[in-house]
Amino acid sequence: MSLDVALWLGQDGLVNGAIYALLALSLVLVFSVTRVIFVAQGEFVALGGLTLAALQAGRTPGTFWLLCAAHGAVALRDGAAALRAGSARGFGRSLLFHLGYPALLAPVLWLAPLRSAPAWVQIPLTLALVVPLGPATWRLAFEPIAGASVLTLLIVSVAVHLALVNLGLLSFGAEGVRTRPLSEARLSLGSVAVPAQAAWVVLFSAGLMAALWFLSRRTLAGKALRAAAMNRVGARLSGIPVALAGRWSFALAALVGAASGVLISPITTLYYDTGFLIGLKGFVGAVIGGLASYPAAAAGALLVGLFEAGASFWASAWKEIIVFGLVVPVLLWRSVAARHVVEED
């Protein structure tokens, strides 16, 4: 292998690894706050990329209709709860937000000249369309059974993945998309020319990861989130709004997912089902880190990226098998380290 190839593979692995690390971090965050292993996180990556591509192509992204449907369902659920409780307090606000929000977006989508708009308009709009789907997913799928076992939550999470990935197919079709990069420039790395977008991906991911880490470890809100994860009752007694913790962590997960999708869509062709594999690789990274530690998860995910780059060079047909096979030695090692019987909740 020549130095050029090594450099190329290294940057490729680094770029993918950065995205996996971002997703791994947000998986750890969601898991530690809600005990949900959010398998469907990858779908937000696909939705982010596909939505941006639709905006750039001058089409109304299907995400808008997903958002309407999800918000409608949440409003219905809140309405039913208000009926049962015999009081409409809070329901009015829910109705206003869940129906008003898409109503506010609609004129922008239909009237503004989005196709020719600059990236700093298109990208926030993409996030505005995708991110609210995160809390809505929490409200609809997980909140009613927030106290269930990790296993039940995982099964629900897989079911959500199944529904979302096929809703993606329904709203965007099966064609792959690429979006316009933030800049067309190329950086030269020795003799290898690397698209500037790759550098953007790494920089943005690093920034977002640092922000996530800071948020969860150093701020009161982050500490409250973690307290809600460790002991729901205790946290509630201490005045932490536990119900909000789920919504916020899912909003963060959706934000991280959509942002990842936006970042990589100029350098990777995204299909409606690409997100799942990307998410799972982030997940392999998180497992390497033991689903607990942020730096370990990030390091694990970077390793996955580099491994994948190497595998795609030497045995591209076996790439996925090799990457997912990585889990086995890691689990084996963790398994040997575990001594006492662990009682699950």
């Binding site: 995982l154 897989v158 199944l162 529904a163 197919l169 997940f283 019987v341």
Partner: protein
């Protein structure tokens, strides 16, 4: 309608089906059967044992491909003659391969927390799917064709009509074997896996091994379904073995009722038919091609888990009540352990320390229990009594100090090793398998006194031993005063009686040292007196008891020795009459004014 009648009706319907249905519906019924076979394994794995797998489709694929390669490849068995390519020879090969894969996967995930297995199986399901598609020898994405049909008595089962019988014979065989298994010594251990692992280990159950066994059984049932599939379709490609198929299998179990074997049948039927129907209807409705049934499927799965986590089975079960059960009073009693001679040192605890971070819960505790003695361990809440119990029974390792049981150093040994020496305990918070009957819960205590395993249980070769185990359980239930309704689910007993059931379970272990953690809490006055009498008669039989209890009168009246703990240390020890006058005890117990 009783269950027997319902089962007979089902069997008759299946027998008559080939005469009544056309090929299309018979094929559908065959697919339902194969799906049910996988779902039955998931009931055992997920519903009963609290483990789960999204990778069952990969095991199905493994079974299908292994048999396909074995029966079509000219290279493998050519030297052995034509009989070697028979599907019947391929079946054991297939099963061994699946067993090996399951053992390997189980070995790396089953010792970890419950969510690592499903996660491992997702990776496994994806990898194997890609492998099927990429291996030249397996025909890549086009697959393998020309697989021979299964011959039975010289007849090739090539039509759905002929195959229907084989499929359902296998399925019903698996259902019966699984039900038999759950109603046995091994089955009780398996039913304790979900949420009761600590307790089960204390009763001598090797829970890691039982988890592996369950995973193995589920994988082999899936591989058998794959074998059927390959020889029914006579053609295999990777598509039906994707991760999504694995999720569908799990959903069949969840919809039908993941806790019950028959529920898997109902779920497989419902989901298979509904998916078939949605696959026809939805693309026409939406106006484009795609797997839109999966949207409905995913949302339905979430709804079922939210609304009715028990699935459909409880609804069906109410219409078909189970037959009443009886105990065989004539079974010979189990052999008993020889009690150590009265007065012999049984338990020696020397300077044991247990810390949790900065908190020292047990701080240099020493005490001893002699054979045939009741020692009361008392003290305020948080004094470290239950932690000490955990250290003695092997639930927790001490940070320092020694524990000797019958002359063996046992600090840091496993719960099972300590149980084998004759120590059995109850738990402060009753640890019962709530859905299981009282007598079966008690019989869990006698786990170490039986030998019959999974295979014997599945084919009912364990009945003689089983009658003795249940007989012992019934005797101990009677002894603690719960003999009236042995088949009542343990979870429906009042809290005080649940504690008595814990005592009965511990007695089933035939221990020489009994560790009781607040057995009298929640009991009424008369029940307490009966318990005290029971403990007294156990002492006469030579058993020793270490007793944690808050009811002072109960302890003073019963114990030979009393040890008082406060803040992790022993503040007084000796005969009850002396200890209760000790000023430090009075202060710790009653406050200074006493």
């Amino acid at each position: 309608m009783s269950r027997r009648v319902a089962a007979a009706a089902l069997a008759a319907a299946l027998l008559a089906a080939p005469l009544l249905l056309d090929d299309y519906h018979l094929s559908l019924s065959c697919y339902i059967g194969m799906n049910a076979l996988v779902a039955v394994g998931l009931v055992l794995l997920t519903g009963v044992s609290g483990l789960t797998s999204f990778g069952q489709a990969a095991f199905v694929g493994m079974g299908a491909y292994a048999s396909a390669v074995w029966t079509t490849s000219p290279a493998v068995p050519a030297a052995l003659g034509s009989w070697a390519t028979s599907p019947w020879v391929a079946l054991p090969v297939t099963l061994s391969l699946a067993a090996l894969a399951a053992l390997g996967l189980g070995a790396v995930t089953l010792r970890l927390a419950g969510h690592y297995l499903p996660l491992g199986t997702i990776a496994w399901g994806l990898s194997l799917y890609f492998l099927f598609g990429n291996l030249e020898a397996l025909g890549g994405h086009t697959g393998l064709a020309g697989i021979p049909p299964v011959p039975v008595l010289g007849l090739a089962l090539a039509s759905p009509r002929a195959f229907h019988l084989l499929t359902w014979a296998v399925v019903l065989g698996a259902v019966l074997a699984t039900r038999n298994l759950l109603d046995s010594r091994a089955g009780r251990a398996i039913r304790a896996l979900k949420g009761g692992r600590l307790m089960a280990e204390s009763m001598g159950v090797d829970t890691a091994r039982m988890r592996a066994v369950v995973f193995l059984v589920a994988a082999m049932q899936a591989a058998t379904a794959g074998w059927l599939y390959a020889h029914f379709q006579r053609f295999v490609n990777p598509t039906p073995f994707s991760l999504h198929a694995g999720i569908e299998f799990l959903f069949m179990g969840v919809v039908g009722g993941i806790g019950e074997v028959w529920g898997a049948l109902a779920g497989a039927g419902l989901v298979t038919v509904a998916m078939q129907w949605l696959r026809d209807v939805l693309p026409r409705l939406v106006g484009q091609a795609g797997d839109f049934e999966l949207v409905v499927f995913g949302i339905a799965m979430v709804a079922v888990l939210q609304r009715s986590p028990q699935g459909l089975w409880p609804l069906l079960a109410r219409r078909v009540p189970p037959p009443p059960r009886r105990l065989d009073a004539g079974a010979p009693p189990l052999p008993r352990r020889a009690m150590p001679p009265r007065g012999e040192p049984l338990l020696e605890v020397r300077a044991v320390v247990k810390r949790f971070g900065g908190l020292t819960a047990v701080d240099g505790v020493s005490l001893s229990v002699r054979a045939g003695e009741i020692v009361g361990l008392v003290g305020p809440n948080g004094a470290g009594k239950s932690t000490l119990f955990d250290v003695l029974s092997g639930v927790a390792d001490p940070d320092a100090g020694e524990v000797h049981l019958r002359g063996h150093a046992v600090q840091g040994r496993s719960q099972r090793a300590i149980a084998a020496l004759g120590l059995c305990r109850t738990f402060q918070h009753a640890q019962l398998v709530t859905g299981m009957s009282a007598v079966e819960n008690a019989a869990l205590g006698a786990h170490r006194r039986g030998r019959r395993g999974v295979l014997a249980a599945a084919w009912r070769l364990d009945r003689a031993e089983e009658a003795r185990l249940l007989g012992e359980a019934a005797r101990q239930l009677f002894r603690v005063g719960l003999g009236a309704d042995p088949w009542r689910p343990a979870g429906t007993l009042p809290l005080g009686q649940q504690r008595l059931l814990e005592v009965a379970r511990a007695l089933c272990a035939d221990p020489c040292l009994l560790l009781l953690d607040e057995p009298a809490a929640g009991l009424r006055h008369l029940e307490k007196r009966a318990l005290a009498e029971l403990l007294g008669s156990l002492r006469r039989e030579g058993m020793s008891v270490l007793l944690v209890e808050h009811d002072a009168e109960f302890v003073w009246g019963l114990a030979d020795q009393v040890v008082v703990m406060d803040f992790g240390r022993i503040i007084a020890a000796g005969p009850p009459a002396e200890v209760r006058r000790d000023p430090r005890v009075v202060e710790a117990w009653l406050g200074a004014e006493g």
